[in-house]
Symmetry: C2
Subunit: 173 residues, 2 copies
Amino acid sequence: MQLSATQERFVRRWGEMGTRWGIPRSTAMLHGLLYICDRALTPEEICDTLGLARSNVSTSLRELEDYRLVYRQSVPGDRRSYFTAETDVWEMARHILEERRRRETEGAVSAVQECLASAKREGDKLLTKRMKALQELLGAADTVAAAAQNYPTSVFKRAAQMGSRMLALLAKL
Amino acid sequence: MQLSATQERFVRRWGEMGTRWGIPRSTAMLHGLLYICDRALTPEEICDTLGLARSNVSTSLRELEDYRLVYRQSVPGDRRSYFTAETDVWEMARHILEERRRRETEGAVSAVQECLASAKREGDKLLTKRMKALQELLGAADTVAAAAQNYPTSVFKRAAQMGSRMLALLAKL
DNA sequence: GACAAATTTCTGAAATTTCAGAAAATAGGG
DNA sequence: CCCTATTTTCTGAAATTTCAGAAATTTGTC
């Protein structure tokens, strides 16, 4: 698959962005490519287009599937897998939020939990206080993120779009 | 400064968490240490306590100052700098959000902007559509994050704590 | 169940990031 | 204005991460 100059540029830029978000460049490029494609691609085509090793594409695709940013499709009578990206950006955002919550906050919550227990046991007042505060924050973040998962995309979208107005409203309460 | 076993454990765990968040382990440890301290520390003390190189502490402190997670204080008649951490977790969260917005979304917004312009110029319908969608998402995220900066901590805190309820409300509209 | 196509896992090399030590710069006190 | 205490910047070594190529595994077909 031959990319136009602009498509090429987007894919490259997107890959660059990925690195800032803690996503390997090649994984992000692969995602960018699928995102701007209107048909499903085979891993083979992806390799050729982006100049990545087959193994790398395989690993990246699995990672992106975990994030639910790309979907695998199988065509009857064709042994190859075909991949497409999630193109609804709000759905994308939800999935990223969900996965990041799993990976980034869950560990922190349990770490703080443990330390809080120890601090109490040892009677360390200050540490107890600090751990409680952290727990409050992490808990709230986790709750919001979790809640976002339980509503349809339309609600999530509306919430994000109205976010600033909601804050304005809250400021008056 | 001698740490108790639990304090030590927290600092270590917090450092570990940092790496998942894209923050160097030593920087996160340093932040963790200051967060659980009730008095200001000198860089020297921090080195001794955590076993880090002086240079490393210097760099990490500057980074944490950029995030506004630690503050520098100077004591008259003492040439050394003293450092304390932000201990209000909601303020902490706001500062992190702000800095992450600056570092992570600003670049993406301008990248998409550029690509959108090129796509339009070239008449690439699909790419234009995709770039517009991304722009919508990034714009919304940016707006929410920006709005959070403009309200007092109390509002931010309330918003986070009520987040799930707000979503429930929105779902009915 | 043997064969071929496709995919995944393993391994190490290349690139990047983190961090300690040395050298340079800065600031205060005499 | 020099001297000393403190901090910052520079440099390269160590650790980590990313990724290509080879080997192993899986999947489907005959």
